[in-house]
């Protein structure tokens, strides 16, 4: 599909949001985009590391509340 045809299928409200964002300088886009919210468990350690992504996914599944959305579907 051509880029023009693909873009023609974008819902109008999303398109309006994309165009509004494109008019903002990067610094302002970032100001609007990065927020700080506490995420239980995830934010309770200052450092974590995992040998494999599978280890990380397993840790998320076993330790994080499901409503955070880190579990696989």
């Amino acid at each position: 599909m051509s880029p023009e045809r693909a873009a023609a299928n974008i819902p109008q409200d999303w398109l309006a949001e994309f165009e509004a964002a494109a008019r903002r300088p990067l610094a302002l886009r970032m100001k609007y985009s990065f927020i700080r919210t506490y995420k239980p468990v995830l934010d309770d350690a200052s450092y974590r590391s995992f040998d494999t992504m599978e280890d990380y996914r397993r840790w998320c599944r076993e330790n994080l509340p499901s409503w955070l959305g880190y579990g696989r579907v």
């Binding site: 023009e4 974008i10 970032m30 100001k31 990065f34 700080r36 350690a45 200052s46 990380y56 880190y70």
Partner: protein, 157 residues
């Protein structure tokens, strides 16, 4: 801790450049750099695996103010797939093997530069989110794919 700021992104860019770190912004923070309007909490970096890059990463992180112990620094140099840092001036996720992307060098060739920030191509960001299979990514994918169509039309890359 306050939200991640543009100034801090500049600090990452400059420190990583000074130390010669090979990296890309990925995930939603990468998409935001490309122009995607959405919210996120921290910055996700995709980094080339290997001792030389690992040493450069550790040096850059310490320069930025992250408090890495000797063991943590050694882990980063030895190579992990995923490291989550909340011991510095801002939160940072270091991803060395993102789902859905085979090789760093391939992603690096496809990268997009935004104000000097090296960013994964939108197709790689989508591939990574698709492959992760996480509920929160699945929910956000339709809008991200729509942004991809918008971005491709206006950037032709």
């Amino acid at each position: 801790m306050a939200a991640f700021e543009y100034r801090q992104a500049l600090e990452i860019r400059d420190a990583f450049r000074r130390q010669g770190v090979r990296y890309l912004f990925i995930g939603k923070s990468g998409a935001i750099l490309l122009g995607y309007p959405d919210t996120t909490q921290d910055a996700d970096l995709y980094l080339a695996k290997g001792p030389a890059n690992g040493e450069a990463i550790v040096a850059a992180l310490r320069e930025l103010g992250f408090s890495l112990t000797g063991e943590q620094a050694a882990e980063i140099v030895r190579g992990k797939d995923f490291v989550q840092l909340k011991n510095g001036p801002f939160d940072l996720d270091l991803v060395f093997a993102p789902d859905g992307i085979e090789h760093f060098e391939d992603a690096y060739k496809r990268r997009v530069e935004v104000d000097g920030f090296p960013v994964c191509h939108i197709d790689d960001i989508i591939a990574s989110k698709q492959a992760s299979g996480r509920a929160k990514d699945r929910e956000s994918l339709p809008r991200l794919k729509a942004f991809r169509d918008y971005w491709m039309l206006h950037n032709r890359q």
